[in-house]
């Protein structure tokens, strides 16, 4: 088995130290960083994604593999030229005002990070001003809002209106999620998309950022 296959397999098993080791070994063998990334790390994460969707892996395994991938990526970053060394883009995430439910949003964050996005989590009980300020400051590709309560979901509209009033609505794609939210609601508040769970949130962000 070649080094890249070993790297891929180590990543699939979530073995952080082995991933570092084989990434370094591949570099020492003069394999181009981009090849190591594509055929080792990304190839491994693709398998992890499939295993998760098929119920072979749970979230802890996915997060461990993502950690292993980042460990390998850290070694490659200085050598990757141009786009491929950078993050896939920035996403700002928060749970809206009046709502303290946290874990769903955190899972979305973790899965987005696993997919290579830089995610800034601005917390729970976040008001419109803070969302606006974060969009200004971090210039994310996507802003994500989470709500678990029927009495807080409407606040998503308040945030979108505030972005509109500040003239920055068009600078960012907006996605929403959480138990009481659905596609129809997302459209009605003027969001660009809705995802029912974390892995679909990743697909959605990919779609929106590719457009």
């Amino acid at each position: 088995m070649g080094t890249l296959e070993k790297l891929r397999d180590a990543l699939i098993e979530g073995k952080v130290e082995e991933v570092k080791h084989y990434t370094q070994q591949a570099l020492d063998e003069n394999t181009p960083a981009k090849t190591i990334l594509d055929q080792g790390l990304i190839a491994g994460m693709d398998v992890v994604g499939v295993r998760f969707k098929e119920g072979e892996y749970f979230l802890p395994e996915v997060l461990l593999c993502a950690k292993a991938m980042h460990a390998g990526l850290d070694l490659l970053k200085p050598l990757l030229v141009g786009e491929s060394g950078q993050s896939a883009g920035t996403v700002v995430l928060g749970t809206v005002k009046g709502d303290l439910h946290d874990i769903g949003k955190r899972i979305v964050k973790a899965m987005l990070e696993g997919a290579g996005y830089e995610v800034i989590d601005i917390g729970v009980d976040v008001d419109a001003e803070k969302f606006v300020e974060s969009v200004r400051k971090h210039k994310p590709l996507v802003l994500g809002m989470s709500a678990l309560l029927t009495t807080t979901m409407r606040y998503m509209k308040t945030v979108i209106d505030a972005l509109q009033n500040e003239g920055i609505r068009d600078k960012v794609k907006i996605i929403v999620g959480g138990a009481p939210v659905n596609e129809e609601f997302a459209k009605s508040v003027g969001a660009d998309g809705y995802a029912p769970n974390a892995s679909e949130a990743v697909d959605l962000v990919k779609r929106l950022t590719a457009a």
């Binding site: 749970f58 997060l63 303290l100 946290d102 729970v124 029927t150 009495t151 807080t152």
Partner: protein
């Protein structure tokens, strides 16, 4: 707790608790009848100040509809639960006003129809807003206690909360499947916070002569259950976490809570077995709020039967709160008829058998397992960490044995997790001090030790 109030699992049954509880209007729980507990919540709307009049009207209207349905179905006893949303605790006058409004409707029906209804008020744990949270200092705890006080004064009969001490560690621990983190949250931090918080709640309840009901490990064990439901976490871990959470919830009773314990605490039967307090439970009737593999089995030893919470929306036959009231009433009628006719044990056993092998989480809810878990906790002595470790090991053993004897079938990945959990539990330090020293650095910065009376 040195001994158990029940001497066998067989003795535990729905409708009867060793220590029944009576609220001001004479309504008693755990004395031979299961009482429906209805919980409702608002449809999509916001809680801004300008909407307060509309919310008040809606609350009164919902209470009317619930009480009306009770009258139509000749249900003479009912509990209405008012579970605060964040703003209702954050603005204590607002929560108290709604409490008063609900109580007025209840009182009206007592006068006009003799219906005995009690009002449970569940204050929200707003300390969870900041990270790391301040559990004992800061304005959040002051506001919460003020909210308890105003609601007790405004007509609450029973006080409850879904408290969150330790959740700042458990949220992440659940995501990464960190069993030690869960033990730290539920065996070390949670019980300390429960002890602190419930002394305060009990003292308020005594001052206002209302009932200090109980807490629930919802933020831990039900989060785990939902993660498992979404395929994010193994069910075997959720099953272990359920029992791991029992010593923590028991802590409220140890400092004066008397029940009825809160509906979404599926760990409640363990606490009933030890202390004899009446418990509220939820199962198939709470599918409106979340899915569970515990539809029937959850009712086996309940004293109140609940729907967790349903948002007020229109269906063909009426709005959801009265629709769920009706479903709860019929479930309770069946259980109460079984009691009257001396066939309660048959019904209990059927409810258990219908679900027991559906899922590891259901297996854990078997009253026999719950009873033995209670014994394990009692035998572990006073130390909460030791209790949590012992009962987690017991939960693990139960699932393992059921798997080995083919009573329950686990997917390959679930079986692997069961092995892994077993190994972790086996190799834990036995003493809390040693355990704390071994994990402290790992969780540093994520919790404030002083807020739990730790160094």
């Amino acid at each position: 707790m040195e001994e158990m109030l029940y001497s066998s699992a067989h003795e535990m049954i729905f409708g009867f608790a060793k220590k029944p509880v009576t609220v001001a209007n004479g309504l008693t729980f755990g004395k031979g009848k299961v009482v429906p507990e209805v919980n409702f919540t608002l449809p999509p709307m916001d809680l801004a100040h300008e909407n307060v009049p509309e919310i008040r009207e809606r609350f009164k209207d919902i209470a009317h509809r619930i009480m009306e349905r009770c009258v139509e179905l000749q249900q003479e006893e009912v509990v209405i639960e008012f579970e605060h949303l964040f703003d209702m605790t954050e603005r204590p006058d607002f929560g108290a006003q709604l409490t008063k409004d609900l109580k007025e409707v209840i009182e009206k029906y007592r006068q006009s129809h003799g219906t005995k209804a009690a009002l449970r008020v569940t204050v929200a744990d707003i300390r969870d807003r900041t990270r790391p949270p301040r559990m004992r200092s800061g304005k959040e705890i002051e506001t919460m206690l003020r909210s308890f006080e105003l609601c007790a004064d405004a007509g609450a009969d029973i006080l409850s909360i879904e408290s969150t001490g330790g959740k700042e560690i458990s949220d992440n621990a659940l995501m990464i499947g960190d069993v030690e983190g869960l033990l730290f949250a539920l065996g070390v931090l949670g019980p300390r916070d429960m002890d602190f918080l419930w002394r305060e709640i009990v003292s308020i309840a005594r001052r206002y002569d209302v009932v200090p009901g109980g807490d629930t490990a919802c933020g831990f064990a039900n989060t785990a259950m939902q993660l498992a439901h979404q395929g994010l976490l193994p069910k075997v871990l959720a099953a272990v976490v359920r029992l791991m959470s029992a010593p923590r919830s028991l802590a409220a009773v140890e400092v004066g809570a008397v029940g009825p314990l809160k509906d979404c605490g599926y760990e409640n039967p363990v606490i009933k077995a030890i202390t004899g307090v009446p418990i509220s439970m939820e199962g198939k009737t709470s599918a409106c709020a979340h899915s569970s593999p515990l539809g029937n089995i959850a009712a086996a030893v309940c004293d109140l039967w609940s729907n967790e919470s349903v948002q007020d929306v229109k269906l063909l036959s009426g709005n959801t709160p009265e629709v769920f009231t009706e479903m709860l009433i019929y479930d309770c009628r069946l259980m109460n008829t079984a009691i009257e006719e001396g066939r309660a044990e048959i019904l209990r056993d059927l409810m258990v058998d219908s679900d027991r092998f559906l899922d590891p989480q259901a297996l854990i809810l078997d009253p026999k397992v719950m009873y033995e878990a209670a014994r394990v906790i009692v035998n572990a002595g006073e130390d909460k960490f030791k209790q949590a470790v012992a009962v987690s090991r017991y939960a693990h053993g139960v699932v393992k044995e059921a798997e080995a004897t083919n009573k329950i079938r686990l997917r390959g990945v679930e079986a692997k997790w069961l092995e892994k959990i077993g190994k972790i539990l086996e190799h834990l330090p036995e003493e809390e001090e040693e355990f704390y020293a071994s994990v402290k650095a790992r969780y540093e910065g994520h919790f404030i030790p002083e807020e739990y009376g730790l160094n």
